[in-house]
Symmetry: C2
DNA sequence: ATGAAAGTGGAGCATTGCTCCGAATCAAAT
DNA sequence: ATTTGATTCGGAGCAATGCTCCACTTTCAT
């Protein structure tokens, strides 16, 4: 996967590359302060570009969100096999992996909502999370089933959606602890 | 609590009463077809009144939502003690009561989101649900704890919020079954 | 019947998502 | 260095929506 030389198409213009970088940085900053549902204008202003430029580089809001969080999602996905290998049991590995995911989600204001929403503008985001994380989750789930630790009738997709949902608005209410409830949900998996 | 005769203040004008009724009916209909987050203009149009009239009767969106669903929430709250009395165990009663709540929530498009959101405009809604349902839930939870059926470290408020969250977007994705996941969450309560 | 109080309607402002196209910029060719 | 065609940019402008404000209308006690 070499990004630097694509023979068929001409490389992107220098200013376009600069702007894309600026946009990514700006979005990351704004997402932290105002959540992933911050106004497009705010991100554009922070990056010092016009709105047209945002839509040119990231046609849908989800494209920008994915670009900003891709690394962290990948890291979470890649942590799965390691946990499975080094944990005392598949169930324990699953629990630790889920904690990773929850910690990621609850610190990204508004991300869990966007994830659950089936709006067309968020399709890319939804799909990226699903494509990347569901297979890992599925693997851990199956290992735990084989080990006889959990029930076999819960799918990885459904579990991930449930965890995502439990993280919605978790940052807005001090009386609500998403980690604790996700823990409850996961212990509900036990045979 | 007699609504029909309030001595000190003059009774509401006849046209105002008519409009309030029309608004309630219109809102109920629109909530079914377009969800509780339907545009205010749509509800006004359906009721055949101006927008000013909506805001006069129901200053915040939550007021209208509460007015529409008050009966059903009350019914759910009142079903609690009966279930506790007639079920084989407190835990079973809790499970059945939670099913009632979930069935109510998943059929009201967008309600679960509004419930979880801590926006000021939804404060009344949030508070009404909490005031009405948390005490009932707490009672069942405590009974189940006393019976030694569930762990004692989960609060009623947190559980209700978790259930509400699991119902978010439940109507938008056929691969996701809120009832099943709530069931999982509740079985996670077991000691 | 009448006038004050209560209620109404919808124009209008603010916010936000998104499109569109003339202007600005870039890079290849000369 | 200049030209020139392609690429990219910027932000005005449109549409949707929440909410306010107040001149006008309706009701009702007198």
């Amino acid at each position: 996967m070499d990004e630097s030389e694509k023979s068929p198409v001409r490389a992107k213009r220098a200013d376009a590359q600069r702007n894309e970088k600026a946009l990514l940085d700006a979005a990351a900053a704004v997402f932290v302060s105002s959540g992933v549902d911050a106004p497009v204008r705010e991100i554009a202003a922070q990056a010092g570009v016009g709105m047209g430029t945002i839509y040119r580089h990231f046609p849908m809001r989800a494209d920008l969100i994915v670009a900003v969080y891709r690394h962290q999602v990948d890291a979470c996905a890649e942590a799965g096999p390691g946990l499975l290998a080094e944990s005392a049991s598949p169930y324990e590995a699953l629990g630790r992996w889920v904690d990773l995911f929850v910690d990621f989600l609850v610190t990204k204001h508004g991300l869990a909502v966007a994830l659950g929403s089936n709006q067309a503008s968020f399709a890319t985001l939804h799909d990226y999370f699903i494509d990347r994380l569901v297979p890992v989750c599925k693997q851990m789930l199956e290992a735990a089933v084989v080990a006889g630790e959990i029930r076999r009738d819960v799918g990885a997709y459904e579990l991930m959606r449930g965890i995502g949902n439990l993280c919605i608005f978790a940052d807005k209410d001090s009386r609500y602890d998403a980690r604790r409830l996700v823990g409850l949900l996961v212990s509900g998996l036990r045979v």
